[in-house]
């Protein structure tokens, strides 16, 4: 980010390189997840409802619970960003901590869900729906893991106080990514848990 000094009145944009870069990254991510969702939707439509039987075995209550966890973590993430904008360091650290905990909670619930499904005999080889279920939630889960790691590294920096004064804007970028992962889940949840 050494060149950020050149943002000047000659630029057509007021967006700093970091945020611009994150948005381009998210655009490519939209196409990756978009491709996944497209394949899933097309297969689901082609199956003509034959998947409903399989889809009946996922637990909508657990899915709903996990959705609430993720929505709340998005809230705390954006609150952390707000706190940073308002120079409230302690508050920002706390909100980051809650975000990380909620992210881990999501993963924990997901792991419980996986293990109970596998215990019932539903593995990725139990049919196309299950293959999609594990592929989609697995890829999303990997994104969550990446997000948790990134958020946790910011949390450590915030606790040590090294987040300021040069790197606090990373909370905003991490937030953008985190909200994007949340949006993906907003679509995965009805696709996998509700539409049987």
């Amino acid at each position: 980010m050494s060149g950020a000094t050149t943002v000047s009145e000659y630029q057509a944009t007021h967006t700093v390189p970091g945020r611009m870069g994150i948005w381009w990254f998210l655009a490519s991510e939209i196409m990756v997840f978009g491709g996944f969702l497209a394949i899933y939707i097309l297969y689901r439509m082609a199956s003509g409802g034959a998947w409903a039987e399989m889809a009946n075995h996922v637990s909508a209550p657990i899915g709903t619970f996990n959705t609430i966890i993720l929505l709340t973590s998005s809230l705390t993430m954006v609150k952390a960003f707000e706190a940073i904008d308002n120079e409230k360091r302690k508050q920002a650290t706390n909100f980051l901590l809650i975000t990380v905990i909620l992210g881990l909670a999501f993963l924990g619930v997901k792991a419980f869900e996986y293990s109970s499904e596998i215990a019932l005999g539903f593995t990725p080889l139990s049919g196309t729906f299950w293959a999609f279920y594990y592929a989609l939630t697995g890829l999303h889960g990997l994104h969550i893991v990446a997000g948790v790691i990134f958020n946790a590294s910011l949390l450590v920096m915030a606790m040590k106080g090294t987040l300021w004064p040069n790197t606090q804007h990373r909370v905003e970028y991490a937030g953008l990514y985190w909200h994007f992962v949340d949006i993906v889940w907003i679509f995965l949840f009805p696709l996998l848990y509700l539409s049987y």
Binding site: M1, A4, V7, A12, T13, H14, T15, V16, G18, R19, M20, W23, W24, L26, A27, S28, I30, M31, G34, G35, L37, A38, I41, L42, Y43, M45, A46, A60, T64, T67, I68, L71, T72, S74, L75, M77, V78, K79, E82, D85, N166, H169, E172, G175, L176, H179, F180, D182, I183, I186, F187, F189, P190, L194, S195
Partner: protein, 93 residues
């Protein structure tokens, strides 16, 4: 680094809306409407939720138009791709 101070809406209200929308889409599944109505409804709700998250949590509402294009064009492209694959992948197999 942050060049402009962001406007920060009341995030808790937005979160409450999101949870409310989540609740009605879960409830809708158990209501005795036809499958098509239910499916359409829950996906419209999901889209609304996604837009709310993007607009407020991701500040798209306060960004310049270029950033909005970066976000919207892939979504449109995804929709175009899915729709144009329906005749072959869904009905031609």
């Amino acid at each position: 680094m942050t060049d402009t101070k962001h406007a920060h809406p009341n995030y808790i209200v937005i979160w409450a809306w999101l949870v409310f929308l989540l609740a009605i889409s879960v409830v809708a599944v158990y209501l005795p409407f036809s499958q098509w109505i239910t499916v359409t409804f829950i996906f419209v709700v999901a889209a609304v939720k996604a837009v709310i998250v993007a607009m407020y949590f991701m500040h798209l509402k306060f960004e310049e138009s270029l950033v909005r294009y970066i976000a919207i064009i892939p979504v449109l492209l995804f929709i175009i791709m899915t729709l144009s694959l329906i005749p072959d992948t869904v009905y031609n197999r």
